[in-house]
Amino acid sequence: MAETRYTETHEWARKEGEEVLIGISDHAQKELGEIVYLDVTVGVGDKLEKGKEFAVLESVKAASDIYAPISGEVTRINQEVIDKTTMINDDAEGAAWMVAVKPTDMAEFESMMDADAYKKAIEEG
């Protein structure tokens, strides 16, 4: 499987062919608890801008913004995970990707944390 990269705000990104898939980390879903609602506020064809929110997750307790880890044009939205948000708790870094984008600048992806660096960042809190 292609390498997964992470942000400090707990999103992940992974290159698959021409696209980059984006979701939230397994660590984040554990922290949030049961996810009961996902509102993806962008549509196919929209531009994601690195650092800007593109979706809101609701756990039972609270809402959390999700930020674009890289810039790009949205090519696909995962309707399955919107319809069945428990997928995020079950497989956050796999089947529960949220959007796919055609990246504007792969250097943004390259500058994200790798799994080891992310793990370290979490441990350091």
Binding site: E31, G33, E34, V36, Y37, D39, V56, E58, V60, K61
Partner: protein, 367 residues
Amino acid sequence: MTPFSQSKKTRLYERLIEAGGSMIEFAGYLLPVRYSGIIQEHLAVRSTAGIFDLSHMGEFFLQGKDAGRFLHHLLANDVLGLTIGHICYTPMLYSDGGIVDDLLCYRLGEEEYMLVVNATNIAKDDAWVCERLDAFGGEVEYSNRSDDYTLIAVQGPRAEEIVAQVTDIDLSSIKHYWWDKGQVGGQRALISRTGYTGEDGFEIYVDGESDRIPIWDGLVAAGKDLEMIPVGLGARDTLRLEKKFCLYGNDIDRTTNPLEAGIGWTVKLDKDDFIGREALLKIKEAGLSRKLVGFKMEDKAIPRKDYPIFAGGDRVGKVTSGTFSPSLQVPVGLGYVDIARSKVDTAIEVEIRGKRHPARVAKAPFV
């Protein structure tokens, strides 16, 4: 905000961590927001039982010849009507009818009472009680023993079966909103049949002279075979919300009165005197302008505190509490709406992140 490291720990803290609690800061304490998961914990309380550490709650004690008369004046409910062993739920009001806090008043003895107040209001309530007591005079001894008390709740349809295993008290003789004293887990404790979940259950108060750990451990062991699990603040909130129990700071506060909050039954306007009575009589005579209602969302969006409510294009109120209902599996909320929009089945809209989502005023309690 208090830095995380300065938050207080309850005397059961180690047990909460061992049980897998995800800790957050609440009312100056480190408390579990959840253990296994809010939905699972919620459903356990509805179907079997859950155990809660509620030691952050406040306990005030009043005694003396005039304690009853003072509390009858301080609180809106009928304190002098309580017999020893009985408890009432009551708001404590400002003279303008706004709410200082909502609390439980236990009559412990001939001239002795315990008030159980919200953790977030302990300092404010303490100051209020002292101020009003100064003005009232009389023979009343008051002490705030909140830091000395541990409070453990066991809630759910199997609560009695569980607690009965570790106490010598005849629980079947304790009616809803009554209390008794005895041994629990080999320690002295006060048990009341009360709670904030809408299920049958008990609240167990233990002071500094007893060891709390054996009580918690005994209850956990007794509940093991009956599928009792520890429950955090997250499920405590969803459980109370489904029953439309008000949460101070959300559904009631200094700017709301008990009549519009739907707890008018706790306000005894026919008492000759209590703080807030004059104001409430006027409010009642003028008629309510708004009401706290329950509503169900008609899509999957979750309403949260302070979101605006619309009806027919007009802004008609705001959300005070909202969540995903684990029992109903739909988003539900409470909010104040104009009296004209407060009837069950009225179509309303909740504005969530700039977009209006359809909802409908619903019968509450929701379950």
